[in-house]
Symmetry: C2
Subunit: 355 residues, 2 copies
């Protein structure tokens, strides 16, 4: 069924409110999840309510968190997320980083004691809307990436996002996990009865695992690049870079060392804004980025009909399509969300398709 | 032959001086190249003199450049490299970024109108020595990475480096190209008579190329990840991120759009410093990073005898070995350097081995 975005938003609002979250958390979380669903980043949209319910049930999520700026220097600050959802503290951090960039040319805010915050690209794009470059990294509560030469997951799928403003094109928006493939892709292969390509996942001995059931049972992903031969050590280094910026700098938990008796996930984020006008004459950055994007798109493709794209293109296209025709939610997800709404006593808003 | 670092330094000094470079350029370039040779980053050591001679001969390198800070705001600045070698302006930028980080918590300096600057990790490590996180990116004069779905190289092997200070361990130093493999690895395979792994290089139609001769003839590298299936679009996005920070932000050239009648290469760099004390109590960042590093090294390896490492470990080990026993230079390189010294009338300093 194709559901209008406004109904997804109502559903997220109702569920979060029924769980006891306050208006500021509800607004920030709904913004972030609907943003992802409109852009076909389905793993980071309304489906996340099912994960957040798990966190609530296991005591990993406080519904009335104290979110506070606990340290504020010239171009930097630290936000404590109060063990609540990550969206509100990350929005606060993005806006504060943007203010600092407007004042100093550059601003960075680290968030500690946070939780899942949806898609990193949402916060990067929020800074790009203000004419700034936005760079966002985050740790993940669950280690999934196995280091080069290792057998045990030590790093989350640690995403990195960059959004940059343009004049005549849509903004550049890169949002990538530093694993080769997402857990979601393993699930898709399993549902389709397909083997995994060698290089996505590992078995408990650190060898390539191509059976999707076995891979999902142990959840050991390769860093971007896959094997050592294909540059997996670079992806491992990059996932570590994201971990250092997100947790070591903010004072959040490095997940493998998080105390086992502590239910709070203590996820960390890093949000940085750069004002291009601190480096270039006004408009020159946007013009040059437009030229770069145009040159990429005009470069000769391997197959006619599949032009070269730049980061953000598929999501912009999905946004235009889904803003008009609604967001396709499959029956399995709709049933899960209906049951979830019933469990918390929230009304169900997803029965009505786009006319 | 194993040559003491001090002789490599003398050789670099003599050649650059014979070419007409001034003392500031000679010192910065020698520092950067010897740093790489001591760490077994052989592609970015004294061998680069052969590349720099080509640049001189084709008129792409000014030996008495005017290096200047052309824009200086609170936490940001822009340096013009004057079309000289990149090492001096990049050292200036790293030191200025560090000063700004000490004042504002964060500092970033973009360099335009520059040239090859050696290993990005050298500048990141220079900032880490001052107790700061150093992040460095650079464009490359020659496009080599083919974008996802494309057939033509549009991006350099665009490196990204992060160095971070520690207390009881050696510093974390990541320095990685955003291509799957370096051109140097293609040359090694050719010399060894080995086929390339599918996923390193492409033919002119955008299909995998495994013949090293054919691959070296067209020099079309995949972005980190290789094929689309193995996440090559992420490496492409990352190489573009590096390009945007290095050239669009600094005002340097995006190589595919550089005017053909312009001999200057107009390479761009981006150097950023972050003061961990702006985010954490003094010492806490270093302690937590040490814990992270220790946990990685202690995690179970796939093979006994090959422990999990962190970025910088192989280079630190090489540094200790080569500081004592000298730097192994093969006869082919020694002969090339001897001929180069003769061409510019510089004395030859590399005949003497470590006793």
């Amino acid at each position: 069924m194709d559901i209008p975005a406004i109904h997804l938003r109502s559903q997220i609002d109702s569920v979060l409110t029924a769980w006891g979250f306050g208006a500021a958390d509800v607004a920030a979380t709904a913004d972030a999840l609907v943003w992802a669903d409109l852009r076909a980043i389905d793993s980071h949209g309304i489906a996340l309510l099912l994960l957040y319910e798990q966190f609530l049930n296991q005591g990993s999520l406080i519904v009335r968190p104290e979110v506070a700026v606990i340290r504020d220097r010239a171009a930097t600050a630290v936000v404590d997320g109060g063990s609540g959802l990550g969206h509100r503290p990350a929005c606060l951090a993005a806006d504060l980083a943007a203010e600092k960039a407007q004042a100093f040319g550059l601003g960075a805010v680290a968030v500690r004691n946070s939780n899942h915050f949806g898609a990193a690209g949402f916060y990067a794009a929020r800074m790009a809307e203000k004419g700034l470059l936005g760079i966002v990294t985050s740790s993940v509560h669950l280690p999934a990436i196995v280091p080069t030469f290792g057998t045990v997951p030590m790093l989350g799928t640690n995403p990195i996002a960059l959004a940059a403003p343009t004049a005549r094109n849509r903004p550049f928006v890169l949002d990538m996990a530093t694993s080769t493939a997402a857990i979601g892709k393993l699930r898709l292969a399993k549902r389709a009865g397909r083997q995994l390509p060698a290089g996505w996942a590992l078995d408990t001995q650190g060898r390539p695992e191509t059976d999707p059931d076995a891979a999902l049972a142990v959840k050991r992903l390769t860093p971007l690049g896959g094997s050592r031969e294909l540059g997996g050590h670079k992806g491992y280094g990059l996932a570590t870079l994201v971990e250092i910026l997100s947790t070591t700098l903010s004072g959040a938990a490095f997940a493998p060392l998080r105390p086992k008796d502590n239910a709070r996930l203590d996820v960390g984020h890093f949000l940085m804004a750069i004002d291009p006008d601190a480096f270039r004459e006004t408009g020159d950055f946007e013009d040059d980025l437009d030229d770069l994007i145009d040159a990429m798109r005009a470069s000769p493709p391997a197959e006619a009909g599949q032009p070269v794209m730049v980061a953000g293109d598929p999501e912009h296209a999905a946004h235009d399509e889904r803003s008009t025709h609604g967001i396709p939610l499959n029956d399995s997800l709709l049933n899960d969300l209906k049951a979830l709404a019933e469990r918390c006593g929230a009304p169900f808003h997803l029965a009505e398709e786009v006319p």
